[in-house]
């Protein structure tokens, strides 16, 4: 025993070689990594400077103010070839955001419907939804975009044989033309009336809920709210003598004048993004609904709630908690996937940036702008959805 102790204490000093101490080893390892990284960065930086010098390129963001010199077919803000690169990038960003926003709305509705359809009691509906999901999830988005662009929208007739739809809407291979509303005097008042109506509806709904909690009787909400939202703007509209006219698209010989136009590029990107992402959202919705314990539905039935109310009041609020986080990443995916616009020439951020990159050769600056914008879109969306998620989660006991 004593010998062992002595042997142990004799061995003690030899035990701690510094590289066997995880803490010190960690520090050393990090230091080495940092040094290697700095050396690599400096090396790449010098290479870049040398490469730029050889190609006679300067660096910096000064080029953003110079003349762009290229046209953009579809733009939400005023833009011409004489505008600056910065303005062109703004147009691109707005185009990205608009197609993403439109896509997110459609894909949510479509995905919700298909997700619920996958759980339907009806065999045919269930199988149809499965075929949809398995079909779209396993085909690249780019193929779907080209399918709409080359396959469907290119097959539309040319301007002379345009398809004329009701309400002066016109469809041909140049795009979809529809009457543009022109707001006359008093339109501001209508908008104010609409906002006031919505505010009134929100307050009424809150009051109705408080009343229901107090007395157990629910005042009529749905029809009252519809009246509150619709009536004030309508009244103001007629009080000002209907100050709304439409700029109708008129078919000319080679072109269609007037009205508003949505180009085939936007249409195919928007349709492809909506259809493709809906297949993912359907799966998320399905998983969310399945994830709510069956006892919840049974308890709701036992309380005498009808299937519709059970879904709306008991299952969906709980399913939403499962659904929201993956749904957020699908929204972000859709936004990022809108960059495939570059393949069909829809002027989104990446397409405009690519044109600028080719014109000026400023790879670093353009890529940096892309990274900055996309990362900030991601972060903003994540922040908003995290807030929404927390709000939904608070409903818990």
């Amino acid at each position: 025993m004593a010998q062992d102790d002595a042997a142990l204490s004799a061995r003690q000093p030899a035990r701690s070689v510094w590289y066997n101490d995880p803490y010190k080893r960690g520090i050393a390892f990090q230091a080495i990594t940092a040094v290697v990284l700095v050396i690599a960065a400096v090396w790449m930086w010098q290479n870049t400077l040398e490469n730029l010098k050889r190609a006679n390129l300067t660096s910096g963001f000064g080029f953003l103010t110079s003349r762009a010199g290229f046209d953009i077919a579809q733009s939400l803000i005023e833009y011409s070839a004489d505008a600056s690169y910065l303005r062109a990038l703004m147009v691109g960003l707005l185009n990205t955001l608009s197609v993403a926003a439109a896509g997110i709305i459609t894909t949510t509705i479509l995905g919700l419907l298909i997700g619920i359809a996958r759980l339907s009691r009806n065999w045919l509906i269930r199988k149809l939804a499965t075929v949809y999901v398995e079909g779209f999830r396993n085909i690249p988005l780019l193929v779907i975009i080209f399918f709409w662009y080359k396959g469907v929208l290119n097959a539309l007739p040319n301007v002379r044989d345009s398809i004329v739809l009701p309400f002066s809407m016109v469809l041909n291979n140049r795009g979809f033309y529809f009457p543009a509303p022109v707001f006359g005097e008093g339109s501001g008042a209508i908008l104010i009336a609409l906002v006031a109506g919505i505010a009134g509806a929100v307050f009424y709904a809150r009051w109705a809920k408080a009343k229901q909690m107090e007395t157990g009787v629910r005042p009529p909400v749905f029809w009252v709210n519809i009246a509150l939202v619709l009536l004030p703007p309508l009244l103001v509209f007629f009080a000002f003598g209907a100050p709304l006219t439409f700029d109708l698209p008129v078919a000319g010989k080679f072109n269609i004048n007037g009205g508003s136009m949505i180009g085939p590029e936007f249409m195919s990107l928007y349709l492809a993004l909506s259809f493709y992402t809906a297949s993912y959202i359907a799966e998320i919705v399905r998983a969310g609904i399945v994830g709510v314990a069956k006892g919840q539905t049974e308890a709701a039935y036992a309380l005498g709630l009808q299937p519709g109310r059970t879904m709306r009041l008991v299952v969906l609020p709980q399913a939403l908690r499962i659904i929201i986080p993956p749904m957020t990443s699908q929204y972000l995916n859709l936004t990022k996937n809108s960059s495939l616009a570059v393949a069909i020439g829809y002027a989104d951020l990446v397409a405009v940036g690519g044109t600028i990159l080719n014109q000026t050769g400023r790879a670093i600056e353009v890529v940096a702008i892309w990274l900055a914008i996309y990362v900030s879109i991601s972060l903003t969306t994540s922040l908003f959805m995290n807030w929404f998620n927390r709000k939904m989660a608070l409903v818990e006991r």
Partner: protein
Amino acid sequence: MTSKNNDIAFVRSHMLAAEKPPRQEIGLAAWLSRNLFSGLFDTILTLVSLTLIVWTGAHLVNWLLVNAVWFGTDRTFCATVEQGGIQPNGWSGACWAFVGEKFSYFMVGAYPVHERWRPYLVFALFAATLAPLLMPRVPHKAANALLAFVIMPVISFFLLHGGVFGLMPVETSLWGGLLVTLIISYVGIVVSLPVGILLALGRRSQMAVIRTLCIAFIELIRGVPLITVLFLASYMLPLFLPPGTNIDKFLRAVIGVSMFASAYMAEVIRGGLQAIPKGQFEGADSLGLSYWQKMALIVMPQAIKLVIPGIVNTFIGMFKDTSLVSIISMYDLLGIVRASFADANWVSSVTPLTGLVFAGFVFWLFCFSMSRYSGFIERRLDTGHKR
């Protein structure tokens, strides 16, 4: 005494044959009424979707098979009289003759015709090494994996690129079609799994510098679209390297896709790591295992098993995403199909749609098989320890 109650009680001495279930519970009629016509709303839904299916199905079959052109040597077979072809006006159908004529082009791209046995041999070799690896019953998995993931890629590279053993060198710019799609995704898969594991471990590391680096890389890559990563790889990589270095365009795309896939893989693996109970880490520590032993022997096997669906989904996503390299003017399957739309010999109003249907079907076949296989493995590995 025992027979006292015999006259008032009846005890059955043999079993009766089972009664048939009620009429309305079995058979086609019952199935129909339960699954298709269980109510008014259900009936309407069924009828509407049935109409939709029949209508679309008839059109699809008509377009894809009945009206389709199966044989032909140029565009006239797939164009109407109005368009300068032989088909009646108003005709529309798939032009499979186009796909048939271009088939080997779609498979291997502009690879020299006399050397095409090389990519086909590579396809065959990969099928031969991967198939046994994917079948659970076949033994020697470790040796097989070494063959499939290390030896085969090296052999294939020399076989495809040539320049050794008297093989004619073939530039990567001539590679194309399904060959490129498969190579990029194969490299992406082989690279992204280990790099993703390292990144995930780094993200959970105690070392601040490593952790920050990993988080920055993962979040930056995941925050941007793949196409910007591809632009980054194809425009900025050459800037970072010493002047005069010429880095292959194909390699740039492979680097871009691998970086992107690794970042996504890292997050999937991290999900698995987070699901492993702390006791497992502590148990490994108390056995005196080193960090790498702990991870390789105790934690990773459990974590990976948990996230197999996520890993396969990442693989499927990456396989689909390889189609994006066509935007940076490379000719993968989709790129080459698109490029052949412009072939004057075949240009017609139905060739684009036919080509896209073909490309979509090939992609679908691969992705669908992958997801089916992942479901199979998941069921096989499900040892019932789920909580």
